[in-house]
């Protein structure tokens, strides 16, 4: 058939070698760049790891359990900061998960007509759009003056609980945790809402048909059915909270020692440590900071990969 091709017909005209080469080259080029974009994650990990190597060799895993961060002595351990990262993130989740899921329920049910509901959904999303540094500024001048009397009251009346055992001095772990809660709330609300909206309508109708009230349906049908989606959203939010830098740096007080478990005391997180020290660091300190960055990278990576898998599994199922 090919041998009898009529070359005068445009239908049978073969493309020139050059055209085909360019066309194949285009496809291969896009593939190569897509692979490069995918590999960027590994490149970041390797580069940060390479720069952290001197500190890794010197301090080993002891870096994770030592709470001494002394630039003068060249001794570096990030326990204080790892503790700060975990505690602030935990406070943030404690506040943001119930409220975020509550918002998600309110905005996925038909309490409001869509004309009013859609703008509210958008407003909640806008919370995530406000730059972190603006939350920090607002926190310094508005939130901390507002929180301080509450902190003083907690310390005076409930000071026997280790959580409130120190007198607050303006900024502190509790303020950072609260701002983190505000910042991750939209993520939890948006993903939980998607998860609940995606629950098949038959489940809801069946529950109503059996005589369940709206809230019995929500607690016994919708929340369990949407659980994996909500869990994925919470984990994504956790990853965001652990890596969040500016607002935390501006509100946590940046103390490099822990002397109590009080959430009213000042502290620091891995990210605030990096934000405070990187610009003026030199020598082994840069390497130690890179080690800390690698630890933070590892923590968020684990959380994000798990979240990604959970969310993906959930979206495949529905």
């Amino acid at each position: 058939m090919a041998s009898t091709t009529d070359h005068s017909s445009p239908m049978n005209r073969k493309r020139s070698a050059a055209t085909r080469l360019i066309d194949d080259g285009f496809v291969w080029g896009t593939t190569a760049i897509a692979i490069a974009v995918g590999l960027l994650l590994a490149v970041i990990a390797l580069q940060v790891g390479e720069d952290a190597l001197p500190a890794i060799q010197k301090f080993g895993l002891g870096f994770l359990v030592s709470n001494r961060w002394s630039v003068i002595d060249g001794e570096f351990g990030a326990l204080t900061q790892i503790y700060g990262t975990l505690v602030t993130s935990f406070i943030a989740l404690l506040i943001a998960v119930p409220i975020g899921v509550g918002v998600a329920i309110f905005l996925s049910e038909d309490f409001l007509p869509p004309r009013i509901k859609q703008p509210i959904v958008f407003l909640v999303e806008l919370l995530a759009a406000i730059p972190s540094v603006v939350y920090g500024l607002w926190g310094i001048f508005v939130l901390i003056p507002f929180l301080s009397p509450i902190g003083i009251w907690l310390n005076a009346n409930l000071g026997w609980i280790p959580l409130f055992s120190t007198a607050p001095a303006g900024p502190g772990i509790y303020a950072a945790g609260l701002v983190l809660a505000i910042m991750i709330l939209p993520i939890i609300a948006a993903i939980s809402r998607d998860a609940m909206v995606a629950v098949p309508a038959e489940l809801r109708q069946a529950a109503y048909g059996l005589g369940a009230t709206r809230w019995e349906t929500i607690f016994q049908i919708l929340l369990p059915a949407g659980f994996s989606g909500i869990a994925g959203g919470v984990m994504l939010a956790l990853g965001r909270a652990m890596g969040e830098t500016m607002a935390v740096t501006m509100l946590i007080g940046n103390s490099n020692t822990i002397d109590s478990f009080s959430i009213l005391s000042q502290g620091s997180t891995v990210s605030s440590l990096l934000a405070n020290q990187f610009a003026e660091a030199g020598g082994l300190q840069v390497s130690a900071l890179m080690y800390a960055a690698l630890v933070l990278f590892g923590l968020t990576l684990v959380v994000n990969v798990l979240a990604e898998i959970v969310v993906r599994r959930f979206s495949l199922k529905l």
Binding site: T30, V37, D51, G102, L126, P131, T245, F297, L301, N304
Partner: protein
């Protein structure tokens, strides 16, 4: 067989639930609670916006946009150099991330759809979007600042580019996938190559949606502080090249928020107002654009 008399069996109760039954009370209480939670969630948004507008407006004058930051203790001045610096870093970031992002999206949507490779690229891009921005700053510091020996707008641009990349890849891929397959089939049927189909048919159809994604990514990047903190760093002067420490608006807000001088704190609020306005306007615009397209 006579029909069972449900009404008689249940006595005087009707199908309506009694408003005082524990189940109804619980449901009403939960409804009130969820309304309260939603209001509670909106309080910070309203509070932040109100304070930023009220505190930022007094210094929203021409000098703020054109002059250099005031020396400590002096009045007046502005953040002209920081505005220029933000523009510089963002333009550099866009110049790097848009080509890579859109081309990667072309692969994901046009040639790699439903392949294992595309799935992996998607996965890693999503995970990349979760990497803390301060870690990306550390990476840019290692790659650009340490090798060139200076903080620079380029270093800040590289950090922001990595930050923007996942957003651009995702929105561009979604935009391309939304182009109807008829377009591709028609083009191939007319004898177009894959290159011609992509560049002349599919890409132009997706451009408005891709631009929306890029706009959002740029607005978010302009407000980011952590990645430029120790890459672009800060400067009190105008930039003459892109290879020198560069002030950005977000870094200026950070520095001046913690400064003890009233005039600098003033500028921090006004700078915040500019950043917030930028993000809000692009978010609302892009939402209007997507809504119109859906209709």
């Amino acid at each position: 067989m006579p029909a069972p008399d449900f009404a008689a069996a249940r006595g005087p109760r009707s199908l309506n639930r009694s408003p005082t039954s524990p189940r109804t009370l619980f449901a009403s209480a939960m409804t009130v609670l969820s309304v309260l939670f939603t209001l509670l969630a909106l309080i910070p948004l309203v509070a932040v916006l109100a304070y930023v507008v009220v505190n930022g407006l007094p210094r929203l004058d021409i000098a703020a946009f054109t002059q250099l930051p005031p020396a400590p203790g002096l009045r007046g001045g502005g953040f002209g150099n920081a505005l220029l610096g933000t523009l510089l870093t963002v333009v550099i970031a866009a110049a790097i991330s848009i080509p890579f992002g859109v081309v990667a999206a072309i692969y994901l949507s046009e040639f790699g759809r439903d392949t294992r490779l595309a799935e992996w690229v998607n996965f890693f891009t999503n995970v990349l979007s979760g990497v803390p921005s301060i870690v990306i700053g550390a990476f840019a510091y290692a790659v650009v600042v340490l090798t060139t020996g200076t903080f620079s707008a380029v270093a800040g641009g590289v950090a922001l580019a990595i930050l923007m990349l996942p957003t651009i890849v995702r929105t561009a891929a979604e935009a391309l996938e939304a182009v109807p397959n008829d377009f591709r089939q028609a083009a191939i049927g007319l004898g177009a190559t894959r290159l011609q189909t992509t560049l002349k048919i599919v890409l132009p159809a997706a451009v408005p949606a891709i631009l929306t994604g890029i706009m959002l990514a740029i607005a978010r990047a302009a407000g980011e502080t952590a990645p430029v903190l120790f890459t672009a760093s800060f400067s009190r002067y105008w930039n003459t090249t892109v290879w020198q420490p560069t002030a950005t608006l977000s870094r200026l807000v950070f520095d001046f928020a913690t400064a003890p001088y009233a005039s600098q704190q003033q500028l921090a609020w006004t700078g915040s107002l500019v950043l917030v306005a930028l993000v809000l306007v692009t978010s609302i615009l892009s939402r209007l654009v997507t809504q119109r397209r859906r209709k």
